[in-house]
Structures are given as structure tokens and as C-alpha cells.
Amino acid sequence: MSGSAVAAHGAVARAGQDPAVPLLSVENLTKHFAVKGGWLNRSGGLVQAVDDVSFNVRSGETLGVVGESGCGKSTTARLIMHLIARDSGRISFAGRLVGAPHGLSRRDLHRQMQMVFQDSYASLNPRLPVATSIAFAPFIHGLGKAAALKRAMQLLEAVGLDPLQFANRYPHELSGGQRQRINIARALALEPRLVILDEAVSALDKSIEAQVLNLLVDLKAHFDLTYIFISHDLNVVRYISDRVMVMYLGKVVEIGPVHRIYRSPQHPYTQALLSAMPSMDPRRRTLRAPLSGDPPNPISPPSGCRFRTRCPFAEQVCEAVPPSLLAVAKSGAVACHMRVAGSGHSRADKAVAH
Amino acid sequence: MWAFTLRRLIYAVPVLLGVSMLVFVLIHLAPGDVVDILVPPEVPKEIADSLRRRFRLDEPIYLQYLAWLGRLMVGDFGISFFTGRPVAEELFGALGNTLVIALPAALLGFSLGIVLGALAAYNRDTWLDKVFSATAIIGVSLPHYWVGIVLVAIFSVVFNVLPAQGMGFEGLPSSWDQIKHLILPVVTLSLIPMGVTSRLVRANILEILSQEFVGTLHAKGLSNRRVLYHTLKNAAPSALALMGLQFGYLLGGSILVETVFNWPGSGGLMNLAIFRRDVPVLSATILVLAAIFVVINILVDVLQALIDPRMRR
């Protein structure tokens, strides 16, 4: 793609966007990892990292993704980015199926969607000056060297770093916050529509974290971006997200607008997560441990509802039948038998629409 | 455990096949063939061609390879171009002679290496260690065949206490006079294993000593000797692996030392074969030495897995 085309495609794509079609559509995404072991590689089992995950991301929103470590958030991100191959499921971007014969190719997908990783230092090639790292993607997509470097410097400016000071520096000469800004600039170099932020601010000091978060908000407005924001920090997610998706052991357990989720969480796991948040308010003390037991083994997850081994409301039906992600009137969806009338759960009939 | 051993053995088969193929290819790339060497050049072409047909040299190459491989399996290593005797007898006799110097050299090299390495490790950063480091670098840079020559120059030429060449006996030595023939070659051969082993042992022991459990052992009140025993036990696996490999190198690489001392071992045999363009002897020797090396590698892997459970995959 020539330089001018690269610049222009962003505008064309936005112009052609139908608001009704979600920007990213994930259907039945599944990824199991084989566990090495046993003679002649007879699998010791499968880690069900991501199991039948479906969700949409609307253009212009920020979708927060939360959950404990090992719940599949990062794997999902890598699957969407096509960094690892999925076992099954469909991924569509702006209505076009990725990997299908007449759909979107991987390479084209990467022009539309980029990712920022958690480890700011490991994300940058230690042997290259940061401007070159930023310019790499446009350069290989056809932009000439000079034009790519020029774009790199514009992006440095955009993320709040003076190009004169930083363009020729090496990653080890910069602080964590500066490096993460570089990573953000690098993600923006191809003018993507969607940026996945995988624990992008988790490793930063709190004050720096706040600065970078604000930068992200500004950039989103300025470049008309859509975000998927993965984090384990519920406060940060609340600050930045429009909708929130909660994952547990490879499955989506709840999804909905941020205020509804935080105000009245529908899934017991979400409730437990939120009550575990430390609070500055002395009136909100944690009296009981919100969750009991250990997270189950991802190789052999519990039958039926995966959360039932730690759920205070678990019943027979939870063991027998896995709950599906079903809509909660007007505001997202939840996967819990308690919220579905007629599911067989004793509390099901008390489900109240919010 | 047996599964692991079996897997390693099965895995060695394609490697050995590959080795045999490589040797076979080399033989066929050699200028001239059997017939050219056996008969004088004035012989008319038809006779030479009929000889080729008799030796099956006109058949497609993979058939020749398979036939050759088949003969190897039953122990027929061919006939020497030069002596006309079966290669197998000469080869195994020569191998025995090599073992007579290789085994003592390995023992000497390893034991001295372990002692030196341990001494250096326990006296870290003292002048002893510095001497050790200097010696180690020198040892690795010395051509061992040259050291052999220098030793001969000192002990045979100048002082005339040890014989300069030759084996002086058949089979095993039975008198001090005969043993004298062994001394210089064994010492020369032992240099490289000693150097390599001492370096590794030193590095391993240092690494283990820096680990916390050693402090725990001391705190439990174990005597220094018991701690040493535990340390050595931990250093053993990789040291054993290295020693196995070094022994393999000794067997395969003894040719240089055997040339210096005119020792009639497998190396000396190879030397003669090269000189006489005796391809069957040369190729058989190379093949057998490589096969022994592969077997040693397997043994080393199995031994390592036996001692260190982490190695069992």
C-alpha cells in the first residue's frame, strides 16, 4: 500500500462504518492447549484456556475485560489478534470475516487492530532506537523510510514525548511510563480502528498509571479509536470503560454497561470480585471473605457451571447444566441459572429485571 | 524410565542411518573407485568394466548402499585394499589398543580434573584460583599433539627416560618396561579431558555453593565433609555427561596422539589407511567410531536421567 493510501484508508473505513454492525464480533471462540507429558506425547490433558467465548465490541466504545489470572483474558486478546491460532470460532471485523476467502486477511486485520502489551521493556527491541521501532510497521506496509520516520515523530509528539529528546533513544534509557507511551505510539502507527490494551498500565507506578490512562482517553477521542481494556484492576477499569466483560476460567460470565455492573452485578463471581475491592470508605469494610476455596484446575474444570465450586448459591442444576450467556433486560448478559426463570434453580423465579 | 531409554534408543536409529549414509556418500565422492585402485591403468576397459559388474558397481547407488549396509549388519566390514585381510579383525584389534591408552587417559584426566576443579572452586578468588584460570586458558589453547612432541623432546630426547614411540607390547602391559611405553601417550591424551572437566567442575560447584540449600545444610550442623558429599552429588549429572562426551572424543580423536607416538590404535589405523588410500579400512573405522560415539551419548543421557529426575522428559 502506498503512503497516501495508508493515510487515506483510515478515513475511508470510518466513513463506510455502519453503526449497527459491531466493530469486532467474536463468536464461539475456543482454544485448548495440550499439556505435554506422558510417553510419546500422549496428552496429560487439555488446558481449556478459552471456551466458547462470544462477545461484540461496538465502534467507539471501551470494553473492559476483568477476571482473575488464568481466566483467559490475555489468551482471548492474542486469539483476536491472531497471534495464536484458534481451535474454533469466528472473528469478524467491521462485518468482514477474518480468514475467510473473501473476507479480511490477517495482514489487513493488523492494519485495523493493534495491541499494547504489559511488559513495556520486553515490548521494544532493545537494539533499535525507539523511533525506528515505531516506524517499523508503516515501513513494512509500504511507507518509505523517511515518511515512516516522520509519522513516528508525529506519534511521539502525540503521546506526549518530545521527538527531539526521544527519537534516537534506546529503550533501556527510558522509564517505564515513557516506554509504555512509545508502545502506544507504536500501536497507533498503522492508524488502527481498534486497540487492545493487555494490562498496559498494570506495571506502572500509580501516578504514571494515571497519566498514561489520561493519555489513552485523549488519544481515543482524538483518533476516534475503540479500545478493549484488559486489566485485573477494577478501579481502573471502572474509570476508563463503557462496558465491562467479566471472565472466569475461560468463559464469559457477565457483560454489561459499566455502571450497571458496578452498581448491581448479577453474577455471584462479579459480586465477589467487587466486594473484594479495597475501599477508602470506612463504612465499606470487608467482613467476610468474599470467595472460598481455590480456583479449580483449568485442565479439568468443574462440570456444568465452572464457578459452582466457589459459589455460595450452587445447586444441583449448576452441576448438571452449564449456564448460557443470556441477555439481562436492556443491559448486557449474564451466565447464571439464578437469573434465568425456569432454569431449575431455587432462586431463579426471584429474578428481577433491572 | 524404561520408556525414556527406549525412546532414546529408537531415536538413535535414524541418526546412525544418517551417519552411514554420510560415510557412504563420501566414499562415493572419492575420486576413483575400487577397480581403479585394484587394477593397473593399462588394463583394457572391458576387463575393468567386467570387474565393476562383478563388484556390483554399476548398480544404482541406493542398491549399493543397501547392500553395503546389509553387509555391515552381519559384521562384514569388507576387505582391506592394502592387506587383503578382513577389515573387522584389524579394526577391533586396533580399537583394543586405543582403549589401552584411552581408558587410563580418561581416568587420569577426569580425576585430576575433578580435584583441580574442586580445589579452584573452594579457593575462589585466591591466587590458587587465578593460577587455575590461567592454566585453563593455556590448556585449551595448546594443541595437544604439540604437547606430546614437547614431552617426547623432554623425556626421550633430553633425559632419555621414556620411549618416544611405539607400543612395545600386545594386549596389556605386563612389565614396567612395557608400561613405560604407555606413560607419555596417556599423559598427552589426558590433557584435554582434564582441562575441560576441571573448568566444568569448578563452575558447577561454584553455582551449587551459591545456592541457598548449602547454607541450610551447614545450619543443620552437617560436617563439611557431608556438605561436600551433597555438593558433589548435585554436580554429578552434568559432570558425568561431560565426561561421557569427552571419552567419546578421546576414542574418536586419538588419531593425533597416536600419530605422534606411533601407537597402533584405531587412530594409527586410520592414518595408515589414509596414507595407503585404503578406503574400506578408513570408512569402516570412521563408521565404527561414530557409532560408538552415538552409543556413548545414549548411555550418558540415560545415566543423567537416572541421577537427575528432572532430565526425564
Binding site: - | 594443541p143 588419531i255 560415539f293
Partner: protein, 299 residues
């Protein structure tokens, strides 16, 4: 957002004015400059190189003509300060000219093996899967030979001479270089910046060129220089066996063999070529150690 008027149109101009950072290689270089021992060793090697390349300037006698009358003169003889060899040729000249062959046979194979083995190893390490298996299994077959045996096999069967020697040694050194290249590449491949490069849609060869190569080159180079010292010893060893450079060429290993008979007459002269092998090999060893330490930069 950047005001277009503030940024100069020429990006390179800005880059030139931008503050220079200290690249990794620059810091390695600076550490090397502090290492007096390594610098000294490199100076010795440079001197050696100059001497063998400009051999006629440093020697008086022709290395190929000898006189039976002047056979095996000892060290310190007038006119032949290192004595003469068994055919009467000046030993000093033979050593200097011999250095050409010895160094050639010692350095070129490692260089070639670096090119071939490095490429294959990086390819195997990056691509993984079938490509990796195929390359590594091939390496295993070559590894089944103790190194000198492989070189002997090739030269012994194919014939002696400088070309075959270089070929044989190159093949002997390709497996270890493949092994270390593959190992280092496999480690680098999992780092996030490589994932990020993949995420930007770059093709494998491009990623290997811009992101892998500059990160793995260091360790591979250090290893290769340590191999040079071994190669010099092996090359001389091959000549010693009659498998390497052929007479009447001068080469240190060959000289060592020829002078063996002279051991009884003039032991010092007979041992001299070995000293050169030893010194050269040790210099490369020390240089390799120095490089390794310089590259061990804490980031």
C-alpha cells in the same frame, strides 16, 4: 497534536538533531576499550595479520628454497635467527609465510560456518515446527561424529589440500553454530517485541532480519570467535596428519610433522611451529572471553 509547522518536513533532519542514544553495540565497544588485556591481545593478532599478509617485508629468505648444507641449524644462528628446517629453509620465513595458510585455514571455515549455520539456526529457531525438526535432525547426524573425525573423514576420503581442508572444517563447525543460533533465536522469539512485530503483519523473513538478527548476533559472534581458536588447532592438526595443506607449502602443522624427525637433533627448532599455533589460538581465546565479558552489559 503536532503542529505541522513546528516539525520540519525532513524527518532525517530532526533525527540528526535529536539527541543520540547509546546503542547496545556502542556500550559494548566502550567496555572493550576499558579491557586492557583484550585490547593487547587484539593488537597482537592485528600485528600477526599484518606480518603474514605483508610477509615479504618481514622476512629475508625465501621460504621455499633450502640448502642441504644449512640443514637444521639451531636457534640463534647468524642470518637465521630461528634456525633452519630439515631441508635447510629458514624457519622464520617458513613460520611467517606458513601463517598465511594457518590463519586462512583457521578463520575462513568459522566465517563460512557462521554464514551457513547462523542462517539455518536462526531459521530453525524462528520457524519452529517441521523446519526446526528437519534442520535439527540433520545437525544431530553431523553431531554424531567427534569433530576431528568428521574433518578427517572428509579430507581423508576426498583428498588433502587447502580447499578440502576448509570445506571439511566448515562442515565440522556448522552443527555447533546451528545449535547455538537455534537456541538463542528460540529464546528471543518469545519476547513481546517479536510478538508485536508479528502483530504488525510483518513476514517471517522481515522479522528475522530487523528484530531477531540484531539481538542474537552478539552471543553467536562470541561463540564463533571461541571456535576460531579450536579451528586453528584442528587445521594445523589436519596438516600434521598429512590431510591438510600439502608440501611444499608452509603451514605450522605441516612444519610440525616434518620436523618430528629433527626432534633428536634440534629439539628446540622442532618444537617452534607449535608455539605459533599455541600463541595464535590463545589470543583468539582471550579475545573471545573479552568479547563475552564486554557483551555482558547489564541493562
Amino acid at each position: 497534536m503536532a503542529d505541522a509547522a513546528v516539525l520540519p518536513a525532513d524527518a532525517n533532519l530532526v533525527l540528526n538533531r535529536a539527541q543520540q542514544g547509546k546503542s547496545y553495540w556502542r556500550r559494548v565497544w566502550e567496555r572493550l576499550l576499558d579491557d586492557k588485556l583484550t585490547l593487547a591481545v587484539m593488537a597482537v593478532l592485528a600485528l600477526l595479520l599484518v606480518m603474514v599478509v605483508f610477509a615479504p617485508w618481514f622476512t629475508v629468505h625465501d621460504p621455499y628454497t633450502g640448502s642441504v648444507l644449512r640443514r637444521l641449524k639451531p636457534v640463534g644462528t647468524l642470518g637465521h635467527w630461528l634456525g633452519t628446517d630439515e631441508v635447510g629453509r629458514d624457519l622464520w620465513s617458513r613460520m611467517v609465510y606458513g601463517g598465511r595458510m594457518s590463519l586462512l585455514a583457521g578463520v575462513v571455515p568459522v566465517f563460512l560456518a557462521l554464514l551457513v549455520g547462523g542462517f539455518l539456526g536462526i531459521l530453525a529457531g524462528y520457524m519452529g515446527g517441521l523446519v526446526n525438526s528437519a534442520i535439527m535432525r540433520l545437525t544431530d547426524v553431523l553431531y554424531a561424529f567427534p569433530s576431528i573425525l568428521l574433518a578427517i573423514a572428509i579430507t581423508g576420503i576426498l583428498g588433502s589440500g587447502l580447499q578440502n581442508t576448509i570445506l571439511a572444517l566448515t562442515i565440522s563447525f556448522i552443527p555447533p553454530i546451528i545449535r547455538i543460533s537455534e537456541s538463542v533465536t528460540a529464546q528471543t522469539r518469545h519476547l513481546d517485541f517479536v510478538e508485536a512485530a508479528r502483530a504488525s503483519g510483518a513476514r517471517p523473513l522481515t522479522i528475522m532480519r530487523y528484530h531477531i538478527l540484531n539481538n542474537v548476533l552478539g552471543p553467536i559472534l562470541v561463540y564463533a570467535t571461541s571456535l576460531i581458536s579450536i579451528c586453528i588447532i584442528l587445521a594445523a592438526g589436519l596438516s600434521f596428519l598429512g590431510l591438510g595443506v600439502t608440501p611444499p607449502s608452509a603451514e605450522w602443522g605441516l612444519m610440525l610433522n616434518n620436523l618430528r624427525q629433527a626432534l633428536w637433533v634440534s629439539p628446540l627448532v622442532a618444537a617452534l611451529p607449535g608455539v605459533m599455533i599455541f600463541i595464535t589460538s590463545m589470543c583468539f581465546n582471550l579475545m573471545s572471553d573479552g568479547l563475552r565479558q564486554a557483551m555482558d552489559v547489564r541493562l
